[in-house]
Assembly symmetry: C2
Homo-oligomer: 147 residues x 2
DNA sequence: CTACTTGCAAATAATTTGCATGCGA
DNA sequence: TCGCATGCAAATTATTTGCAAGTAG
């Protein structure tokens, strides 16, 4: 089946977390998502099929998935965090439209290994991650609102 | 006097905003700050001298300063936004310690003009800004908690 | 004087937590 | 069975907004 899914489930199991239907739904939703999803987004999608799924379960499970490094947290400056599943070998960042709020992935990552090593060495700082988002206005909004 | 301060005041004036003591205090606080400040940080510092300064005034004025490009908004993944004054010619980013929450500025910006132009062209995306933060553990915390 | 501002309080919005019940291993 | 998980509701935290009173220009 899906390798990402299997590996996530395996990691959960190994750390003593139980494989509940809710957890699986959250994973499935993130896997199927076209882009980063907010907790509300995730909840809404699952609630269509499981009306008694609660928001806090999403929050709690996202926290677990973050802890295990299965998902990443992104901030698009609109007051809510968004999450996306980490597909190995597909490191990327986002163009975030400040007008419509939609985001698009871009493959470029300007933060190269050399710079990382230099900073780690010079500052004795252990780097665990980085965030890089590009803000602006997308083609559609520029056209629509004459930006 | 302080050039940054003067230019900020001038911009406010030109846009029809009034130069209230509250606004000046907020600017002074940001100018004197050693790093990005949260709204609460700013409020606390001013409240020592002006006990009836309210939080919402800080929020409202930060919004104005952001609008005019006088300050930048930063997100350090801890649930609150932080702000810092834009000193011309001193573009930089931050090392954010996930243990103690403190940040340190680094001069490097990996996002070069060429990449910006390429993205703008290829995606027809108008870039207005970007955020780049490096997360991890600082030297002090690594020592203290044996990370 | 007059429009922009402020302070207060109440309203939102996002996220967290306590607790009794439920369910995977 | 046993401990992690869940759902519900209440609590927190960050931020926004309505409104009457205040003040810069």
């Amino acid at each position: 089946m899906n390798l990402v899914h299997e590996s996530a489930i395996e990691q959960l199991r190994q750390k003593g977390y139980k494989i509940t239907p809710q957890r699986q739904e959250i994973l499935k939703t993130l896997e199927a998502a076209p882009g980063p999803q907010s907790v509300e987004d995730i909840h809404r999608q699952i609630a269509e099929r499981y009306p008694n799924m609660s928001m806090d379960t999403v929050y709690r499970n996202i926290a677990v998935l973050l802890e295990l490094g299965i998902v990443s947290k992104l901030n698009f400056q609109d007051g809510k965090n968004r999450f996306e599943i980490n597909c190995a070998g597909k490191h990327h960042h986002h163009l975030v439209c400040l007008t419509c709020g939609l985001s698009e992935a871009v493959e470029i990552c300007p933060f190269n290994t050399l710079d990382q090593q230099r900073i780690a060495r010079e500052k004795k700082f252990e780097i665990t991650g980085h965030s890089f988002e590009i803000f602006g206005h997308c083609a559609k909004c520029r056209e629509k609102y004459k930006l």
